[in-house]
Structure formats: C-alpha cells, structure tokens
C-alpha cells in the first residue's frame, strides 16, 4: 500500500474539460503533512509497519502534554531524563507544532523519515485515480425505508398504521433450526456517521501551489470533514 495524505473536503463544483464537457468535481485540501512516526514491523516494537502523519497545526495552548511531547524534541520530562540516563535510545521526534489530525497509513516500505514534510504534488504525482476515506453524514436513528431502501407496506388494501415497517422478518430458509434471526438482519438503527471508502475516483487536477486535489464525483461526509486520500488500490 502506498502512502496517502490527510485532508479536508472543501466542497463540490464543476470544471470544464479540454473537450468542453462540464465535469463534477470535489475539491480536497490535502496536506502538507508531517511524518510523525515510522511504525516498525519488529514484534518487539510496533508489530506492523506504517507511517504516521499529522495535518494542520494545533495551538500549543490547546494541545495536551502528550500531544506536545509526541512531536517536540525539546520538551522536558522526568521520565525522558531517566531513560536517557539509563542509556535508552529515544525515538526521533518530528520537532514541529502539535498536529490537529494524526492518522496512519499502512505501508510496507518507506523512504520517509520522521520530520519529513509530504505534500500533494509529491504523493500524487502521476496518480490517475485515488481512494477517499471519509465519515458519512450522520442521519441519526432511521427506519428501514430510509436506511436500507425497503419498500414499506401498502398505503391501502387494509394496511392500518403500518406503512413504513419492514414486514415479516422470519424467513425460514435462512434461519432454519437456529430459532433466532440471522446476524446482520436489516433493521432500523443508526444510519450514517460511519467510515466509508470510495475507491477509484479519477484525479482531475493537482494544484500544488494551493495544496488542492480535484477528484471526479462525490465523496462521503460534509464540507470541512476530514478525509484520508491514497493512490487507489483497486486493480
């Protein structure tokens, strides 16, 4: 898997192609991101390999001490001094402002070092399509018609007070012998506000100067939502 970037969904608009067609695009503000940590596959260390990056500075007064200590090399702490005295080699720090959004990308190998700045022009150079991971708009507790596109029950023909219900859920074929419904039965419940990945979105334009990426089509979430974007893993 390749390294991606953290960004914000700016909004949607449309642009014209060379042929003159209008194309719907989503504008994403991506990076620049700081490399905060490289996870080690060594089972004694992290047990998996990944690159941790941060996006957007957070004022120091709003950052917790742990958030400050995660990035700052110069922060004083008794534990650190003790470890230094004991001869433990401390992990490298990015030495930057505390980061507002911190995410990881699982990568097998990387040439990035802690403290490096990665930006959109570098990560998505020559990339034709991307995957966007976001959080879908929360719709609250919804019935089956909205949540699972059920058809509901008839408006007439003797239907009384039950027009938007799911109807019968006791299918003998799928639940034979178990005495209870199958797992994953579609019912009413929380709809939206879940992690959604949209794969294989075409890259329309990369604007390095403004850290923008334009992808064709829509992505989950509201404007201003945090998204993760990576070169697509769709074959």
């Amino acid at each position: 898997m390749a390294l991606g970037l953290i960004g914000l969904k700016v909004g949607m608009t449309q642009v014209f192609t060379d042929k003159g067609d209008a194309e719907p695009v989503t504008v994403l503000e991506l990076g620049p991101c700081r490399v905060l940590q490289i996870k080690d596959k060594d089972p004694k260390k992290d047990g998996y390999s990944a690159v941790q990056i941060g996006f957007k500075d957070k004022p120091r007064k709003n950052a917790r001490r742990s958030e400050q200590g995660h990035v700052a090399a110069g922060l004083k702490s008794k534990r650190k001094e003790g470890r230094q005295k004991a001869g433990v080699q401390l992990p490298p720090k990015a030495d930057c402002e505390p980061q507002r959004y911190v995410r990881e990308f699982r990568v097998d190998t990387t040439d990035k070092k802690v403290g490096d700045v990665v930006n959109v022009g570098e990560v998505f150079k020559g990339v034709v399509s991307v995957d966007v991971i976001g959080t879908s708009k929360g719709r609250g507790y919804q019935g089956v018609m909205k949540r699972h596109n059920f058809d509901g029950l008839p408006a007439a023909h003797g239907a009384k007070k039950v027009h938007r219900q799911a109807g019968s859920t006791s299918s003998l074929a799928s639940n034979r012998g178990s005495g209870r419904p199958k797992k994953g039965l579609k019912r009413a419940g929380q709809y939206g506000n879940t992690r959604v990945t949209v794969r294989n979105l075409k890259v329309i334009k990369i604007d390095e100067a403004n850290n923008l990426l334009l992808v064709r089509g829509s992505i989950p979430g509201h404007n201003g939502a945090v998204v993760l974007v990576r070169p697509t893993n769709k074959k």
Binding site: T13, F16, L214
Partner: protein, 168 residues
C-alpha cells in the same frame, strides 16, 4: 458565502467576456459544434427566461418558437462550447423567471422593450459590425500589399487566360 478555494478553482474556468444579458433579453447563442473533424458554429436565438446558479456553474435558459412549438435549451454561461452570446434586444420584465411564457401564445408572449438599455446594445452591435468590416478590410489590404491573389483576382486571371486561348 463561497469558499475561497472553490472560488479559486472556478475563477480559472470562468470567462470574463460575458456580456451583460438579463432575463427577458433576446439573445443569439453561438455554439461550437464538432461536425466530424470540422468545427462549425450554430446559432440558437430566443428569449432568456431564466438564469440560475452562480460562479462557473451558472446556467441560462433560452426559449424560442420553432414551427409554433416552444423549444427551450439550457446553456452553461461559461461553457467553452459557447463561442459568443450576442444580446439583440433588451427586455423589461418584472420577474426573475419567465416560465409564464410557456402557457402563452402569440401576442401575449411579447416582452416590453427596455429602451434605455437598447441604446447601449445597439451601439455595441454597431461597433462590433464596424470592427468586423474594418478587420475584413484590413485583411484584404494586407493581402493586396503582400502580393497574394484573392479568389476574385484568381478567377479574373483565369477568365482572361481562357479568353486568350479561345481567341487563338
């Protein structure tokens, strides 16, 4: 309010030579069409009955009667496929959307002229026509001084030659 970054993207796709045309105006829309490999322009003229959207997404609807059948087309104001929008007549209306024209026929579809704006538009049309003739003249003069033969000259020369051979 529009987002700064969205505006940045849209500005790059916006034209800045869009004439001031309003609801109720009669316009000629010159569209670029790809006819095989050759590009040609087609003109759609009619009344602007609505404008909607903003920025690079703005559209306008033009209504005209073709064989007493109403035809409406929606164009993107900033589309590169539109070569030119020409305002022919300024109309004065009290609505932002003239959908009521759909229910009317004949004299009832007439829109009051905006005489004040019409003066400006007439001037612009005249200036454009003058500029065009001037450009044509200049091109002709240039062709003459450069010694190239125009079509007409070539025709004349050919006729002369033909007459000569006929005489012989």
């Amino acid at each position: 309010m529009q987002n700064r970054l969205i505006a940045l993207i849209e500005d790059a796709h916006k034209k800045n030579d869009i004439p001031d045309f309003r609801i109720g105006d009669t316009v000629d829309v010159h569209q670029k069409l790809l006819d095989g490999v050759k590009e040609r322009t087609q003109v759609f003229s009619g009344t602007v009955i609505s404008r909607s959207g903003s920025g690079a997404k703005e559209t306008f609807t033009v209504r005209r009667l073709v064989q007493s059948e109403g035809v409406e087309r929606i164009f993107l104001v900033h589309s590169p496929r539109i070569a030119k929008i020409e305002v022919k007549k300024a109309g004065m209306v009290r609505r932002a959307k003239l959908y009521y024209l759909r229910d009317r026929v004949g004299k009832a579809t007439k829109i009051k002229d905006d005489a004040k704006r019409q003066v400006v538009i007439d001037k612009a049309i005249k200036a454009a026509a003058e500029a065009e003739t001037k450009a044509a003249q200049e091109a002709a003069a240039k062709a003459k001084t450069e010694g190239g033969t125009s079509k007409r000259q070539a025709k004349k020369a050919a006729a002369k030659e033909a007459a000569k051979t006929a005489k012989k």
